[in-house]
Symmetry: C2
Subunit: 558 residues, 2 copies
């Protein structure tokens, strides 16, 4: 029975191996901090000391810096460690948002970072990289970073945040569940240590978002965790160009393709879209026919459409400050728990947005002649966030829908539909800077930062439609790259790309339906007025919500 | 302050609306069944009656039929309902595997199905469709179906299964966590009802996989839930052609591209690959350089590579019958919980496999001249399972890796790498049926079943490499569709596609490195012997595992 090939079994190099080194390491670390801990609970004043004992130089850690909520107490603790003791940490963090995130590198506590988005810290991040104080593993989208935690980047310790914990370590996240379950799962089930900061420790949680089983340590932080309103757009800032483009999208895309399930990026264009559904959209008889099911954070500008009965469901990546009571009062629309408040989940909403919806629309600041786009600007390393995961055609999709089938490609019997990926851009940005350019700034940024590829947000070959105030380019209908470029140029105004356009080309493309101007779509520029907005101010949104929406003070000007 | 556009607020059509209809409906249904329930617990003998009262005609329900585990008690209960009382159900189910799944349709209890995979029931499913007894919403991949539960297909009731529950409804899934958390989240947070069958109800769970908060009803089933060993391949069935192809993949793909993170499909080719890592792979000095991090179920044929120190980590979609003790004894490799056993999670492993790894390799039975492939055969509607999600290039990926960068496409500064998608096929299947054909059977199946598109498993434009016993076609290196076709034909033997190949073309393609024969790769056909397998039998695998692996009886022949 014994096979001659079994020899390797007795090979000395492989025999006496421990298979529980991670588990033993975890037990030893928890043992080291045991004197600071009662049950799973530690005192906030002990946090820095405990973290110093818990960690070892070179550890790979994950710090909850989500798109929205921030483990701000724990990040401050980490930044005040003694770099003589703890150094060369490898930091996994979705969003580098807080000053202390980069203090970790300035102070020599951390050395390497894998992240997804840098936002306001992007300039300083680029400087630290140039100064050699920081090493970038890779720049990801949010879900890519989580994916790698299950593959080659398992965290040793996770520093996370939640609203409340009970004595068993069960966690209640409230509406901003976001990324916490995913980060905890990646850590806890690979014998990593999970340390949660919570706003308070209570006897009985309103609901359980994360089982206490998965959590090792809990600290009540002196102040609630930080969270920013990122998805609030003041309707006052919406102008007639935004409204014109929104009208074109409704007629030329949503109505034409029968788009029922979708995701909106953040921007004034998409805010305008949300706000003219109950007015312009209703006048076209489209209620119930388009925009029913959403993968979207709770955008305040969606309130009028919800209240007018346009919306069947909204699944959320995260929450939005001020929307808590409104969402809780609309459980038929939002995903809510037994406690009544929102349950969001970034990974599941990304899944829903990738495989369950027909359209993504987002704004861009810069696009090249091949419809590649990026929001990267010189001297900044801003990262990707989540847009690339929404803004591409998912080749792993196999089910059909009405909208998806309208983009069948190819003549052969082997066809597939396509996700609608719509990019909106005014031909010129503020200050007269053209949006359509010969080369994206991202190319130079990538080159000068030593990135292996240029940090392109949305690739042109994934884009099906580009919308400007001039019209819509139906790129998916174009034959070959030359015609795609001509279609894009036709709506690029007097930008460098637009100036390439030839009158006779444009006429032909309009005849073929590859380019449409507003008049081709039955959209009158004269009608593009702010009076079409169902709400023209934050106060209007509050009124639509029946006073349930509570805008953060910076948005309250009445 | 009041804007003239606020008129819709007072519109009679929108004002008095209830926003908690789902929640009230849930409360009413639970009230109806309260007399059968103590705490959350019901008696198994009451289950059919309770389900009959709980449900209403036309309900959309999800039944846990995962890839592996099956809520077999609940499916039997559902199939024995009175169709006069409960009918026209809309069934969401990942895998139609059990006879009673289709009895639901034969008996008129269910009417419409949205699913991902039909397997052994595929023939009967096709017949029911033809007979008009069943309506198909769409055929999905697993994760697509879950995605839609968060968008336009929210379930009213979820019928799920787990190993154990406690009195609070907390669930312990054991190693086969699989899809349960995702299904429960989609249902519970949209005011649906979650009914779990468990093998037993206990005082104290070994660990919590799903919080009791999310679960409404629990029943201890008379028999444990059904689960099949799907990922076990007996090494005895591996022949020299499998081994030859495995050698070519190691030299021509894994070594050449530096593939460290990967997923293997199920098949004898990939089982051979796993089994020659500790022998052939080691002789090439590749240990530690390739195949370190896996997104993979616990394949028994991976045991020798794990024991030989090749493998750093394995994250799992599900588990595998018989592998429980082995996995529990290797926590450094597998994701395990406090109880010591595996924690799997299909959605997170799909995420990891899509965005966190560099290569997918799978076997196919049929491929056309453009490298489109399918396992669909006439008269069957087998669905997709999970392969399409692994077997495509994820356009939402933005981070780079060594392997990914080796597939940079295009000359422009806007480049991106690509996932390696490798398809393995012998040029002829058993019985002399050619694997390479003019037209996939899937095309005719799609047409005759009225599918909107042909059920293609992996699209040719996503495939980077095709491997046969003749050689490797490096499709991603080919320029244009003609050269791709020529490269594929060059390795397609004497199949209809292979016969198109011209000798002078082949020589040119080999010179360009677009086609490689074994001799081009330094692989000797004479070395492709079964003696290269680190295990040649199930008994060998058991020995490698230190008797921790317990093969199911059907695989035990000693």
């Amino acid at each position: 029975m014994t096979s001659p090939t079994l020899k390797p079994i007795s090979d000395a190099s492989i025999s006496p191996r421990r298979w529980d080194t991670r588990r033993r390491d975890k037990a030893q670390r928890l043992e080291r901090v045991a004197r600071y801990v009662q049950g799973k609970e530690l005192r906030s004043e002990d946090a820095v000391n405990l973290i110093a004992i818990l960690l070892e130089p070179g550890d790979r850690i994950v710090l909850e810096g989500d798109n929205q909520k921030q483990a701000s107490f724990l990040s401050a603790c980490l930044a005040s460690l003694d770099p003589g003791q703890i150094h060369d940490l490898h930091l996994l963090i979705s969003s580098i948002t807080r000053p202390e995130h980069l203090q970790l590198f300035e102070r020599g506590i951390a050395r390497k970072v894998d992240f997804a988005f840098a936002g306001q810290q992007s300039l300083r991040l680029a400087q630290l990289l140039e100064d050699g104080q920081l090493e970038i593993g890779a720049i990801h989208t949010y879900v890519e970073l989580y994916a790698r935690m299950f593959i080659d980047l398992p965290p040793r310790v996770a520093f996370i945040c939640a609203d409340q914990a009970d004595r068993h370590g069960n966690l209640y996240t409230g509406p901003n569940t976001e990324d916490t379950p995913t980060i905890v799962e990646a850590t806890a089930f690979r014998d990593g240590i999970v340390l949660a900061q919570v706003n308070e420790i209570v006897e009985q949680l309103p609901r359980v978002d994360i089982p206490g089983d998965w959590v090792d340590l809990v600290v009540a932080s002196p102040k609630p965790y930080a969270v920013e309103p990122l998805f609030t757009r003041d309707p006052r800032q919406i102008n007639e160009l935004h409204i014109l483009m929104a009208m074109m999208v409704i007629r030329g895309v949503y109505e034409r393709y029968g788009v029922t399930s979708l995701n909106h990026g953040i921007g004034l264009d998409t805010a305008a879209l949300e706000l003219i559904l109950p007015t312009y959209g209703a006048s076209l008889g489209l209620k119930g026919k388009i925009c029913r099911n959403w993968a979207l954070n709770p955008h305040p500008t969606l309130i009028p459409a919800i209240e007018s009965g346009w919306v069947e469901s909204v699944h959320c990546f995260g929450s939005e400050v001020g929307m808590e009571s409104y969402v809780a009062a609309r459980p038929d629309i939002f995903f809510t728990g037994r406690d009544g408040s929102l349950r969001s989940n970034r990974v599941l909403c990304q899944l829903a947005g990738q495989y369950g919806i027909d359209l993504f629309i987002g704004s861009t600041l810069q696009m090249d002649g091949d419809a590649n786009s990026s929001t990267v600007t010189h001297g900044r390393i801003s990262g990707f966030g989540g847009a690339p995961n929404m803004g591409h055609d998912p080749h792993g999709r196999r089910h059909a829908s009405e909208a998806w089938l309208k983009l069948l490609r190819g003549e052969s019997p082997i066809q597939r539909g396509q996700k609608l990926v719509v990019q909106v851009a005014e031909t010129f940005q503020r200050g007269g800077v053209p949006a359509f350019v010969e080369e994206l700034d991202a190319v130079e940024v990538g080159r000068s930062s030593g990135m292996p590829t240029a940090p392109v947000m949305i690739y042109g070959d994934d884009v099906t439609h580009v919308v400007t105030e001039e019209g819509i380019a139906y790129l998916h209908r174009a034959e070959g790259p030359e015609e795609r470029r001509a279609a894009l140029a036709a709506i690029a105004g007097v930008s460098p790309i637009g100036l390439r356009s030839k009158t006779e080309d444009v006429a032909r493309l309009r005849r073929l339906g590859i380019v449409s101007f507003p008049e081709d779509l039955g959209v009158s520029r004269l009608e593009a007025k702010r009076s079409l907005l169902a709400a023209t101010s934050m106060a209007d949104l509050v009124r639509w919500s029946g006073n349930l929406y509570k805008p953060p003070s910076k948005f309250r000007n009445w």
